[in-house]
């Protein structure tokens, strides 16, 4: 590997405890010692390793956007109980923490948490690492993590409104390491949404984030990661979810931005009655690559997991889904499901799917499925017969395709925010004609009269969204 800016140690000028500094140094050593992944490794099969650009990105870059402008851009469309805003890993804004503290809830940036709640971090910070291939990048994260939030919800506390965190890349040379650590105590309830974005929609950068969801006995945790990095960013998002007895985790990873986005998600079910719902949604265009690796780990009897990852791919974009359900020998009455569905919007797009099962117990219900196909031409024809142009029609159908995922979010307002983000992505793709070309080509001319097509876009997908409901 070439000399990289992230190879060296950095200082943020915060007084950090000795154990933390020691861990960071060990992690940096580990990062430097581990080799770059190779394509012939099973965990990196089909991935374009060459697309992983570590370059000379530096942590803690000075941004070009004013704090005021960033704070203004950091608005969620749904009501929330607390908010944190980071740009290039610097905390710009934090609100709602005092209100939460009255209920005993911790909502702090990592650097503050190091001073105020070191015991929590020492116990839980990356205590359950992901091991689906990106160990090198997990070590890189551990070596540099300073931004992001620690959320601790004590026993029996339910927070109705979501907690949100914004992470911005605000310079093309920037490397960011967003961290989200949720520790949900017994019978607690919390919903967290991470917004990941670049100030420059076409910008570069390196994002290497980790989010750990630790769900206590009977607790309920909902997590949504909305990834909208600039289109030249290299992104890693490593998730580890651990669910105890009767706990419920639900995670949704929305991937819209970045040039190469590797997302690893592992659910480990360690107590009877534990449940994990793992959702994914990606829209790709140009040469974007979404590299998704998942593991559903059933270690004890009577656990449940359900995974649904959907990708819509235009231009020469590519998705890789490699999933595994692993049922341990003693994990009887496991109920696990895994489903990957891919929609190719362009003949040049590629979907690679590797849905796997490893079952070491006979008393289970495990199924998986994977499908890849195109827009249903009959459905498209139906829409066109009602005056909707083929491009909008195809996008409407793609929205319908995603609805199965979005509808599973219990908070409809967050669902709406996801719909808007997806619509924005489609809108940004609309300015170029690749998708519409292929769609128009693929619809037989005998089935409609070309003059019936409107010249210009007349319909906004967002305006039509009500149709799907």
């Amino acid at each position: 590997m070439a000399k990289s800016g992230v190879n060296g140690a950095d200082g943020h000028g915060v007084t950090e405890p000795g154990w933390w500094i020691g861990r960071k140094a060990a992690a940096l050593k580990k990062f430097q010692a581990l080799p770059m992944p190779k394509r012939n490794e099973e965990d990196w099969r089909f991935a374009t390793i060459g697309a992983i650009e570590l370059g000379n990105f530096q942590p803690g870059q000075k941004g070009s956007t004013s704090v005021e402008a960033l704070r203004k851009r950091s608005t969620a469309s749904f009501p929330h109980a607390a908010k944190a805003v980071f740009a290039n890993d610097r905390l710009l804004h934090l609100e709602g923490a005092e209100e939460l503290a009255r209920q005993g809830v911790v909502f702090e940036s990592l650097s503050v948490a190091l001073e105020k709640h070191p015991a929590l971090l020492e116990k839980y910070f990356m205590a359950h690492p992901v091991d689906l291939g990106a160990q090198k990048f997990a070590a890189l994260h551990a070596a540099h993590a300073s931004a992001g939030v620690l959320i601790h919800v004590p026993k029996n506390v339910e927070i109705e409104l979501p907690l949100v965190a914004f992470h911005w890349i605000d310079s093309a040379e920037s490397a960011v390491f967003p961290h989200t650590l949720i520790v949900a105590g017994e019978n607690s309830k919390v919903t967290v949404v991470d917004f990941l974005g670049s100030t420059d929609a076409r910008g570069a950068g390196l994002a290497c984030g980790v989010n750990d969801l630790l769900v206590g006995v009977g607790a309920k945790v909902n997590y949504v990661g909305l990834q909208q990095w600039g289109s030249a960013v290299t992104s890693f998002q490593l998730n580890s979810t651990r669910v105890e007895k009767d706990g419920e985790a639900r995670s949704l990873f929305v991937n819209l931005g970045a040039a190469y986005a590797r997302q690893e998600s592992r659910s480990t079910l360690v107590g009877g009655g534990a449940r994990s719902e793992m959702l994914g949604l990606s829209v790709g265009n140009n040469r974007q690559e979404f590299d998704q690796r998942t593991l559903q780990c059933h270690d004890v009897p009577n656990t449940w997991s359900d995974l649904l990852y959907k990708n819509a791919l235009d231009d020469r974009s590519k998705s890789i889904f490699k999933g595994l359900i692993r049922v341990a020998p003693g994990a009887a009455k496991t109920d696990a499901y895994q489903n990957n569905r891919n929609l190719l919007l362009n003949p040049e797009a590629e979907a690679d799917s590797m849905p796997g099962l490893e079952i070491l117990n006979d008393d289970v219900r495990c199924t998986h499925g994977a499908t890849t196909g195109q827009i249903d031409q009959d459905q498209l024809f139906y829409l066109m017969a009602r005056g909707i142009d083929p491009r909008t029609g195809a996008q409407l159908l793609a929205h319908g395709f995603f609805e199965e995922v979005i509808a599973r979010l219990p908070d409809h307002k967050i669902g709406e925010a996801v719909r808007v983000a997806v619509a924005d992505k489609f809108a940004s793709m609309r300015t170029r004609g690749s998708q519409v070309d292929s769609i128009e080509k693929s619809v037989s001319p005998a089935r409609f009269h070309p003059s019936a097509l409107p010249e210009e876009e007349t319909l906004d997908v967002r305006a039509l969204q009500g149709l799907g409901k």
Binding site: E350, D352, S353, I359, G369, A370, T372
Partner: protein, 473 residues
């Protein structure tokens, strides 16, 4: 709980007894233990190979020695194969006999015990019986030979029909495809060479029977089948070996070529003894509008790694793999299929059913590849696994690559166990638990078995019954 509703997990025993006998060794040719260039020279001299074959073998040996074992994805059990401990060529004479009378007595008795001559009279168009490295018997019915069908061993094929043999040999599966195809290319001996001329539809199946008799031995047959335009053929192979304490290696390469509009069906019932490593490379090349169908049943062996594939090279070609795997105690059936779509409107279908008994492990590994610029390709994959005991294991590792226009793939897999309610229901009606289990397992594979030729579905049902019999004891 009522006593009868408690379903005791039965202890299954695999029936390997049918093939579990061997005769004292008495070989005219023996290449000795271990594998070096000298072994290759010995084999070439014994077989009177032409020079190009000798060179081909030596090149392959280098490839084999350079390639690592694929343990980064495959079972670590492969490390228990000690290539230096095997004997690579054992034969009583290189030329097969044309009548059973001429076959040496002990070899003849072997095949008679396995019922081969009887089956030949009953329903086969031709038989080849391989004993260790060489075919002991090879015969094709006169009426079939008169149509121009060639059915000989690989040695006769490359000597007597070089114009067809050389054109396709090693073209579907290159030497360097994997470590074991390279090994086979270095030391291959035996196997079938078949050519079916244009338009000839061979009504009855051709059969090859593979028998390993010796200890510490590796069998490396090489089969090449070419079915010319519009022709049709069904080929069946069976295999058994006695149970030895030492490891036996079977590593075949099978290449199929279906020319335009041809139909080729290749059926395997693998019942090796549980000391055999069965590492086989099988692939077909399907030209325009042709059809290649693999029916693959794996019941025996210690570790089987076999992923029959079809390269769909011509427009509207069709490939199919129907696979049944039964993994009993100590066995690992690592089977699957590969479908490489390389032309428009090609279709492929994979149906895999596996049963894991006791500590048995069944693995499905698949590859479906639809590259860019192709239109209207379709794949359907279904994998069902049945687990009989608590410690049974099953895995599924498919890989699906899809690009292009109007292509669609679907993959589904499910894992289940024998339903206690069903067993209870059958026991209520007077069946023993073993009979009920057997019926249930047969039901699980029934929709696949129905597609097999009659003789083979009967054979398979019998084998499953035998295995379930152990459950009542």
């Amino acid at each position: 709980m009522n006593e009868t509703t408690t379903l005791e997990k039965p202890d299954f025993k695999i029936d390997q007894d049918e093939g579990n006998f061997s005769y004292p060794e008495d070989y005219a040719f023996n290449a000795g233990t271990g594998l070096t260039e000298k072994t290759i020279d010995y084999i070439c001299d014994a077989k009177e190979d032409p020079d190009w074959v000798r060179e081909f073998r030596k090149r392959a040996l280098k490839v084999f020695q350079e390639k690592p074992l694929p343990t980064h994805w495959a079972s670590k059990d492969l490390e228990n194969i000690h290539f230096d401990d095997f004997r690579y060529y054992l034969s009583k004479g290189a030329k097969p006999k044309r009548t059973w009378e001429e076959v040496p007595d002990d070899v003849k008795r072997t095949f008679e015990r396995l019922g081969i001559p009887e089956k030949e009279r009953a329903f086969l168009a031709g038989v080849e019986a391989q004993f260790d490295s060489e075919a002991a018997y090879s015969n094709i019915k006169k009426a079939v030979a008169e149509q121009g069908v060639i059915f000989v061993g690989s040695r006769e094929g490359l000597k007597d029909h070089p114009e067809i043999f050389k054109k396709w040999f090693g073209k579907v599966i290159p030497t360097s495809d994997n470590k074991f195809s390279a090994l086979n290319s270095a030391v291959f001996s035996g196997g079938s060479f078949i050519y079916v001329p244009k338009g000839v539809k061979v009504k009855h199946p051709l059969q090859a029977y593979f028998r390993i008799n010796a200890e510490n031995f590796g069998q490396f047959e090489r089969t090449l089948i070419i079915v010319d335009e519009g022709a049709e053929l069904t080929y069946m192979e069976g295999c058994t070996a006695p149970k030895f304490d030492s490891v036996t290696l079977h590593s075949a390469v099978v290449e199929l070529v279906a020319m335009k509009g041809a139909k080729l069906q290749y059926i395997t019932v693998q019942n090796w003894s549980p000391n055999v490593f069965n590492l086989v490379t099988k692939r077909g090349l399907a030209h325009e509008e042709s059809e290649i169908k693999w029916i693959d049943c794996n019941i025996g062996s210690r570790l089987t790694m076999k992923y029959p594939g079809v390269i769909l090279k011509g427009r509207k070609a069709r490939g199919e793999v129907l696979s049944i795997a039964l993994a009993n105690n100590g066995q690992h059936q690592d089977t699957g299929a590969k479908m490489i779509h390389a032309a428009d409107e090609t279709t492929s279908n994979i149906i895999s059913k596996s049963i894991s008994i006791g500590s048995g492990r069944a693995t499905y590994r698949g590859l479906v590849h639809i590259p860019r610029h192709l239109k209207g390709c379709k794949n359907n994959t279904e994998c069902d696994a049945l687990l009989i005991n608590t410690e049974s294991r099953t895995d599924t590792y498919p890989a699906i690559v899809t690009r292009g226009e109007g292509n669609s793939v679907q993959h589904e897999a499910s894992v289940s166990k024998v339903s206690a309610e069903q067993i209870f229901y059958m026991q209520q009606r007077g069946l023993t638990e073993g009979q009920a289990m057997s019926l249930s397992v047969n039901g699980f594979v029934n929709d696949l078995v129905r597609q097999f030729p009659m003789e083979y579905s009967v054979e398979l049902k019998r084998l499953i019954d035998l295995e379930m019999e152990g459950s009542v004891g």
